[in-house]
Every structure is written in C-alpha cells, then in structure tokens.
C-alpha cells in the first residue's frame, strides 16, 4: 500500500505567465509527488472538477494577475461543495502581504510569494497534507 501525494497545479483566471507554476511543478515532481498540470486560464469550476476527477491531496494555484482575492476563495468554496474537505489548498504568485490574512481566512493554507525556495513548498506540503 503506497500513498502517493497527488497535486493539481493550476493557473486560474486570465493570466498568461506560467513559468513559476512550471518551476514549482517540476520541483514537486522531483520531491516524488504526482503532479497533474492543467495549465493556463482555468476557471475555478474547471480547477475544482479536475481536482475531483484526479482525487488530488493538494491544489496549488499560481496567480500573477491580481485577481487572487476573488479566485482563490471561489476555488476553496467549490472544492468543499464537491465534498473535498481534506484537500490542502495553497497559492503562489505576486500577492501583497496585506492580502494574505484574508486568503488564509478563506481557507488557503499558505501563500508563497516570489523568492520562496521551492524546497519550502515541498516541506509545507509534506507537513500539512492529509492522506
């Protein structure tokens, strides 16, 4: 019996910058996780449905468009509606420090801003994921 950590890496909303998401996806792969990469311009509904079909343990979203305050909580909400209450939700991107408390309040477990070593993301997932 092998519990493999599965992570959905997604880019919600209208934002064409996926380099960061790809770097994180690669780092998670190298940490031994199965990374489902869904790419750019995903709606919250698409992300929540893909998370359900893939039965992921973690949803990792990257946003650089400034719409995090709307999109992150929406995804959290939809995941819970799908019955996925144990999934660890994390975010990353250019997100002002001041916005982070509200995102955490909304159910995003952690927000990683530019300059975060990828190892920190891996460590956070290993420590907080529910299998």
């Amino acid at each position: 019996m092998e519990k493999k950590i599965r992570v959905l890496v997604a880019k919600p909303g209208l934002d064409g910058h996926d380099r960061g998401a790809k770097v994180v996806a690669r780092a998670l792969r190298d940490a031994g996780f199965e990374v489902i990469y869904t790419g750019l311009r995903q709606t919250p509904e698409q992300i929540a449905e893909a998370a359900l079909q893939e039965d992921v343990n973690v949803v990792a979203m990257s946003i650089l468009s400034g719409a995090h305050g709307h999109l992150f909580p929406k995804v959290v909400d939809l995941l819970h509606k799908n019955g996925m209450n144990d999934v660890l939700i994390i975010g990353g991107g250019v997100i002002p420090e001041g916005d982070i408390p509200a995102l955490k309040e909304a159910g995003v477990a952690e927000v990683f801003t530019p300059g975060t070593p990828t190892g920190d993301v891996v460590k956070f997932i290993n420590e907080h994921v529910k299998l």
């Binding site: 092998e2 493999k4 690669r26 792969r29 940490a31 199965e34 869904t38 359900l52």
Partner: protein
C-alpha cells in the same frame, strides 16, 4: 462512504476515490473491485498509443468530443511516465483536454506508470473496470509516449489505434517488430506536414508484407487533430473495426484472453508479494543474500527451498 455503492449510483467523487484505492492498493480495493465486477463488460475500450508528441492527448480530446456529439458518455485514462529516480511524475495530458472538464458526460483520470514498463500502469485495467461499472459507454486509454516495444495496450483495449506522425524515420523503421505490429487502426496525425503520404505508403508496405494478416486490413487515416480534421472519418474506422470483431467472435476471444491474463497477473502478484513479505519482514532475505555473496549457495537453490516451504 461506501465507495462501490456510491460509484454505482453515479457519484463522481466515489469513482475518483475508487481509482485512488486501486492505484494505491489500499486494503479496501479488492472489496471495491468485487462489488464492481458484476457491473463491468459494457464499455468499449479504445486504446490510443504512439510516440511522445504524436498528439495522442489532443486526439483523445477530439475523439471524446465526437463521441459526446453522438450522445455517448466517455471515460479517459491518460498515462504518463513516473520518474524512476524520484517516483514523481508530471501528468500533463489533461492540459489538452481542458475543454472537456466541465462536461458531466466525461471523466478524465491521469495515471503515472509507477514502475510499469509496458506503456500503462499495473492498475490501468482495474481503473478501466471502475469507469466501466460507473457506466461510461466508451473508455479511451491513452498510453505513455511509447518507443518501440511498449505493447501492453493490446491486452487492455478492444480496439488499438496506433498514432504516428511524419518525419520519424525511414521505411526500415516500419518493418521492425513492436508497436507497429499492434494497430487495429493507424492514424497519421499532423498530416499537414511534409512526408505524410510517404508514411502512409510505408505503413501500407508493412501491411502488404504481413503474413499474419486476417481479413481485417488495418485502415490508415490521415488527420490533423489540432484542427479537428479527419476525426469523424477516424471514428468511422473505429466503429467498423468494432462491428468486425463483434461479428466474428474476435472481441469475445480478446476479452477471454484478457480475463485469463488478468487472473494470472493477480495470482503471480499476490503469491509474489505474500512470499516477499514473509522473507523480507522476517529478515531472512538479508541472510540469504549474505550466503549467496559468499558463494555458499545460489539464488536458484534458495528460491527452490523458499517456494517448497511456503507453497506446500
């Protein structure tokens, strides 16, 4: 929740959880499969294989849309390679199918190969059964990008489609053994590129020389998946093949062989892991290895003794 019961009621999260249990070999997986098995056997399984970058995922997306337009429900299992070094994987096939995510008649699941070398994962066949029991009409199984010899798809699929693209080698490649032998259908994708007609000629030559050919000659269809060109025609050949093998008993034969292979696989894997757990957990393995290293005995003698002891 009772996963099998909920799955049979059409709960998508239950289907998803069932596949996880199967993949991770949770204890409850066997019970789930026992409950699902009576409900399997209705779906038609289309295997899609071909080299990396041939367009298998894009093609799966287009084929699924075409089936949806015909009113059929579709399950897709997309396999990508697991790293032999870290056990991690990037499962990136979904990215070509994002337009299907919100269609409730489609369920897509990505799987890593997790050490299997035949182009699928060891658990792909059981995941197919879960989707079958869930009620999907068509299940598309997309292999990893294959080289020349990953042919497990033949065992899992009712119809196997080999996808090729122009520019991958000369006609000597086409007469080698391996994946080029296994197609019930050939699909030449990216056929707007130079060399598509040459590739069709080469496949035809290979088929001309096939001494094992039945009266089914695999059709070759040129498509441009990204432009949705040739997809309806391609599906026409799938339907034709299905009618053909349903009519002459070949489908029944394939499925009988599959059941037999699966039985033997489960048997050897269960016996293997039983014996492994006995000799690994008790620490006996290390002792044997030490003795063999010192040439006091050999692996064949040891295995003979162990088997004799465990299977009497």
């Amino acid at each position: 929740m009772d996963i099998a019961e909920e799955l049979l009621k059409g709960n998508r999260l239950a289907l998803s959880r069932a596949i996880t249990a199967i993949e991770n070999e949770y204890d409850e997986a066997t019970d789930i499969m026992k409950k699902l098995y009576p409900h399997t056997g209705h779906a038609y399984v289309l295997g899609i294989t071909g080299p990396p970058g041939a367009g298998k995922s894009t093609l799966s997306d287009k084929i699924a849309r075409e089936y949806r337009a015909q009113g059929k429900t579709v399950g897709i299992i997309a396999v990508d390679p697991t790293s032999p070094f870290t056990g991690g994987a990037i499962l990136g096939d979904r990215i070509r199918m994002n337009g299907l995510t919100l269609d409730e008649g489609v369920f897509i699941r990505s799987m890593g190969t997790r050490g299997s070398l035949g182009g699928l994962s060891h658990k792909t066949a059981d995941a197919v059964k879960a989707m079958d029991a869930f009620g999907k009409d068509i299940i598309i199984v997309e292999t990893v990008g294959v080289g020349q010899s990953e042919v497990d798809i033949v065992k899992a699929a009712d119809t196997t489609m080999v996808v090729l693209i122009p520019g991958m080698g000369d006609d000597i490649q086409a007469i080698k053994a391996g994946i080029l032998e296994i197609g019930d259908l050939y699909c030449i994708n990216k056929s707007d590129l130079d060399g598509a007609d040459k590739l069709v000629r080469e496949i035809n030559m290979m088929l001309d020389l096939d001494s094992l050919m039945t009266d089914w000659r695999p059709p070759i269809t040129k498509v441009v998946a990204s432009q949705n060109e040739g997809i309806a025609e391609l599906l026409g050949t799938v339907d034709k093949h299905r009618t053909y093998i349903e009519g002459n008993g070949e489908l029944a034969k394939r499925r009988t062989k599959r059941t037999r292979d699966e039985m033997l696989d489960i048997l050897s894997s269960n016996i293997g892991s039983y014996i492994k757990s006995k000799i690994v957990d008790s620490g006996r393995l290390d002792g044997y290895v030490e003795q063999i290293k010192q040439h006091k005995t050999d692996p064949y003698t040891v295995i003979g003794e162990v088997m004799g002891e465990m299977l009497k």
